[in-house]
């Protein structure tokens, strides 16, 4: 986190002036006169044999102490506000920078006429790795990001199989042999079938969020069988279909798969900003998979 010393000085200055911003009458009655008349003069006279000047002097000290207390309290409050805003700015600011990098990679791939499959995969992996950093920071949990693509099968049906194209590097160990061999169908997974259902209903929100996957009764997930006790290594899930943000008629969508984010903590995903990030990325990924497919089909 980068701390701006100028801003911090501003915060302290604000606390310094704010500490004074108390009605002068209040200062005088509650602090000055109050202490002088009710405590210091009688008590000082009786115990320490003070004269009036000494009592006033101690009253001024008390005034100073009150001011200092008020200043520190306000400075703490303002600093917390400042650091909170810095933290928020840095989380979403970093997200913008990482997304810019990811899209730069994707656009480079799109703009290069003699692109290679390696460039395509690199750009997919950059998206997954950067999205992981973004979602880790925002959700304050350990997230995993993957891209699933439908595989052409001899028998095309509702049981269309999806395979993991790539996953963020840190969580790549999840793609075990068993995981790869499992038939991950659209119908067998609540996330995919719900996303597809939403597309087919032309629902403006096409994402799927489940914030407690291990305790949801009707939740289907073909990955469960790959783990001990059929318990998934995550608790929350956010999935978005890889479709364009806008289509020609906004009724008929082309879909190239799904982008999935999961988190090891329950209740990780809110439904406003986090799906919006994924929606934008899905739109970008759609273009490059579309380009890969058209090049592949064109070259065949």
């Amino acid at each position: 986190m980068e701390i701006n010393s100028k801003q911090l000085l501003k915060v302290l200055l604000k606390a310094f002036t704010s500490a004074f911003k108390w009605n002068i009458g209040k200062w005088f009655i509650s602090v000055g006169l109050g202490i002088l008349t009710s405590v210091i003069i009688p008590f000082g006279k009786e115990v320490w044999k003070w004269d009036y000047i000494t009592a006033i002097k101690y009253s001024a000290y008390a005034f100073g102490a009150f001011y200092l207390f008020r200043f520190i309290a306000i400075a703490i409050k303002e600093s917390i506000k400042y650091f909170h805003s810095i933290y928020k700015e840095s989380v979403y600011g970093d997200a913008i920078i990482l997304l810019k990098q990811s899209f730069a990679e994707a656009h480079y791939y799109r703009k290069t006429p003699e692109f290679q499959d390696e460039d395509f995969m690199r750009s997919m992996m950059v998206f997954c790795n950067n999205l992981k950093i973004i979602y880790d920071k925002i959700t304050k949990s350990n997230c995993s990001v993957s891209i699933k693509v439908p595989i052409k099968d001899a028998k095309v049906s509702e049981h269309t199989v999806l395979k993991n194209l790539t996953r963020n590097t840190e969580n790549s160990a999840r793609d075990t042999k068993k995981y790869q061999e499992t038939q991950h169908t659209i119908i067998g997974n609540s996330a995919f079938s719900n996303c597809l259902d939403r597309v087919l209903k032309n629902n403006p929100e096409k994402f799927y969020i489940n914030n407690d996957v291990n305790n949801e009764k009707n939740y289907r997930n073909t990955s469960k069988e790959c783990y001990d006790n059929q318990e998934l290594p995550y608790h929350s899930e956010l999935v978005h279909p890889i479709i364009p943000l806008k289509s020609k008629d906004n009724i008929n969508y082309d879909c190239h798969g799904f982008i999935c984010v999961d988190s090891d903590k329950p209740n990780s995903f809110e439904s406003k900003y986090l799906p919006a990030i994924l929606e934008g990325v899905a739109d970008g990924i759609y273009d490059i998979i579309e380009q890969l497919n058209s090049e592949t089909n064109g070259s065949n």
Binding site: N129, P150, K152, V156, E158, L165, L196, L200
Partner: protein
């Protein structure tokens, strides 16, 4: 937050060599065939584009090659980060 619960009700409208077109299933009860046809024609569709297993395997082999590159990059960044934060006790 509420968990999304939607029972998927869709079917394959058509399929080509490299794609599958999905459409919602509508209830036929109390509807005339012409009415059903009109509704079905206006229903949104989703075309799922597939890739061949060969293409997929080719991409996965590229990924396996690139993973090392990414892991090395990540490890360097993480070490530097860890050293920085532990030095300044942040």
């Amino acid at each position: 937050m509420a968990v999304t619960k939607i029972q998927p009700r869709f079917e394959i409208k058509e399929q080509t060599e490299e794609s599958v077109v999905y459409q919602r299933v509508i209830s036929l009860k109390g509807r005339k065939p012409k009415e059903v046809e009109k509704i079905v024609n206006e229903l949104p569709t989703a075309t799922i584009h597939t890739i061949t297993m060969e293409e997929y395997e080719k991409l996965k082999s590229i990924e396996a090659r690139l993973v090392n590159e990414f892991e090395n990059k990540e490890r360097t960044t993480l070490n530097f980060k860890r050293a920085f934060f532990s030095f300044f006790e942040l």
